[in-house]
């Protein structure tokens, strides 16, 4: 065992020192000129990629939000349009039916008025006719009577007949 380590420092210390210097130098140089910049650049790029992805995601979200908003608006508009149409139709129906009822009522009223008018006129006409008929009858009766009662005998006869009738009664 002792022989194995005999002179180990004499022969091998130099190797350890030289390779140690080499490795530490490599570490220092690469750290300064390679690892820091490379890792920095990789980090920056990853960051920018991540940001880009995030903003794309955001844009997508925004897009879908807008789309859904648009759709909602459209839907609302459609509902409103339907409502307006329905209201308009109702209104129209109402107006039409109102017009119809009022026209009917007016018509009925006019007919009523006309009837009354007609009745009145008819009554007036009838009364006139009656008056005419009465005066005509009277004239005719007068003329007949005048004609009948031109002679006295016939008068007497009539009186006598009348009296007879009264008697009978």
């Amino acid at each position: 065992m002792g022989e194995l380590f005999d002179g180990i420092l004499n022969y091998h210390l130099g190797f350890v020192v030289w390779s140690g210097i080499a490795f530490l130098l490599l570490l220092v140089v690469l750290r300064k000129f390679a690892w820091s910049p490379i890792l920095g650049f990789i980090h920056d790029r990853e960051q920018s990629i991540e940001n880009a992805l995030l903003s794309a995601e955001k844009a997508k979200d925004e897009m879908s939000r807008l789309t859904s908003e648009n759709e909602a608006l459209l839907k609302q508009a459609r509902v409103e349009r339907d409502l307006i149409l329905k209201e308009a139709k109702d209104l129209k129906d109402k107006i039409v039916s109102e017009a119809r009822t009022s026209a009917q009522a007016e018509g009925a009223k006019m007919i009523e008025k006309a009837k009354i008018e007609i009745d009145t006129l008819k009554n007036v006409a009838l009364n006139e006719v009656k008056d005419q008929v009465a005066s005509l009858s009277l004239e005719i009766a007068e003329k007949v009577l005048r004609h009948q009662f031109e002679d006295q005998s016939k008068q007497d006869e009539l009186v006598a007949d009348l009296l007879k009738e009264i008697k009978l009664n």
Binding site: L9, G14, S19, G20, A34, W35, I42
Partner: protein, 372 residues
């Protein structure tokens, strides 16, 4: 990025682990018994335990794999290129009398002594010793000499460091140039790994404080990985077994130990020094906890070292078969197995880097954990 499908290859995994284990056993056998090549042929198997403690001198030409393999996976003052050609790397010695530097070519691969400024040096088993005039090694004087040479592994480590700095500064520059845009080219190769380390290693284990430790984790991961990969290249500029060197893994584990313990918060220390057990158990519990502080980085050190060394040993053993059998006919088999092992090592190289980083993050996580 999800790497869980790596673990889903359970069948392949078990097969690979078995193969690794068996080969390791065999290599152990090789080392232990110093067997000769001819006994290994029995039944055409690659079974290498066995017969002979034959006297070494009897067969001059016999091929002895263990020293060769060990030589290949250990550090050296030379960087072998091909054949007899190799780079002579600089030798730097810190002695009690002063510092001196010269090229390792002066040793002629250990064949010659060198008269330095302060001492007479000799290369024995690739270790620099002080020798007296007659060529005998003087242990007493050797202990005054510290070897700070730029060895093969050091050179390879520095190369990996420079490579990493070049790669990542260029990636960083392309981030600057294309700020905020999608990654491109090398950048798009590196970025998923960085994000993997951040999202699947650092954040789940450490929590929101992960940012402080990211440079360490990333550096550890890429440093281990690239060294594993460079180690797989069989020829120059690869060929050095950096992450299979226990001293390097020791260094990394030691750094992890320091980082973990210096970032330990009061919960962490309370858990170690005042655990929630009856007072009379403290004499047992506190040493156990203290051992666990050491043992976790220790396991990191051994795991990386053993895995990478094992891979190299297996590949070298497979190549050695050709020389053991002394037949070119074995070569296709060896090459096929080596190819398989190399592909497996590609996976292991990544996996070990991942495991090292993962466990480091886990240990840091236990040290900075706030809710207990």
């Amino acid at each position: 990025m999800d790497f869980s499908d790596i673990f889903k290859l359970r069948k392949t995994g078990i097969g690979a682990v078995l193969a690794l284990f068996l080969t390791l056993l065999n290599v152990q056998g090789l080392r232990a018994e110093e067997i000769t090549g001819d006994s290994a042929m029995a039944g055409g198997e690659m079974h290498m335990s066995a017969a002979g403690h034959q006297a070494k001198g009897q067969k001059e030409e016999k091929f002895d794999p263990p020293p060769v393999i060990m030589e290949h996976i250990s550090d050296s003052h030379y960087w072998h290129l091909w054949g007899e050609t190799s780079f002579s790397l600089p030798v730097i010695l810190i002695t009690n009398k002063g510092v001196e530097a010269f090229s390792s070519s002066v040793f002629h691969h250990g064949e010659e002594m060198y008269q330095g400024k302060y001492y007479n040096y000799k290369l024995v088993d690739d270790k620099i010793m002080v020798a007296d005039a007659s060529g005998r090694v003087d242990k007493e004087l050797s202990s005054h000499v510290y070897d700070f040479s730029i060895t093969k592994n050091i050179a390879s480590t520095w190369m990996a460091v420079i490579l990493l700095i070049l790669i990542f500064t260029s990636v960083s520059a392309s981030y600057k140039k294309r700020a905020g845009k999608a990654p491109r080219g090398l950048q798009s190769l590196i970025e998923p790994i960085i994000i993997f380390i951040r999202d699947d290693i650092a954040i789940p284990n450490i929590g929101y404080k992960y940012q402080r430790y990211m440079p360490l984790l990333l550096t550890l991961f890429f440093f281990i990985w690239i060294n594993n990969l460079i180690g797989l290249i069989p020829v120059f500029p690869g060929g050095a077994n950096v992450t299979g060197n226990i001293l390097l893994t020791f260094l990394l584990a030691f750094i992890v130990l320091l980082v973990v313990n210096f970032s330990g918060n009061k919960h962490y220390w309370k858990h170690i020094l005042l655990p929630d057990v009856p007072k009379w158990l403290y004499p047992i519990m506190i040493p156990v906890e203290l051992i666990s502080v050491i043992s976790r980085p220790f396991a990191l050190m051994i795991r990386l070292y053993a895995n990478i060394s094992a891979g190299h040993i297996i590949v070298l053993s497979l190549v050695s078969l050709i020389f053991i059998f002394k037949s070119i006919a074995v070569a296709p088999v060896s090459v096929a197995f080596v190819l398989f092992m190399d592909v497996l090592e590609l996976l292991v190289g990544f996996l070990q880097a991942f495991i090292f980083t993962m466990l480091t993050a886990l240990f840091i996580g236990t040290a900075v954990d706030e809710h207990h």
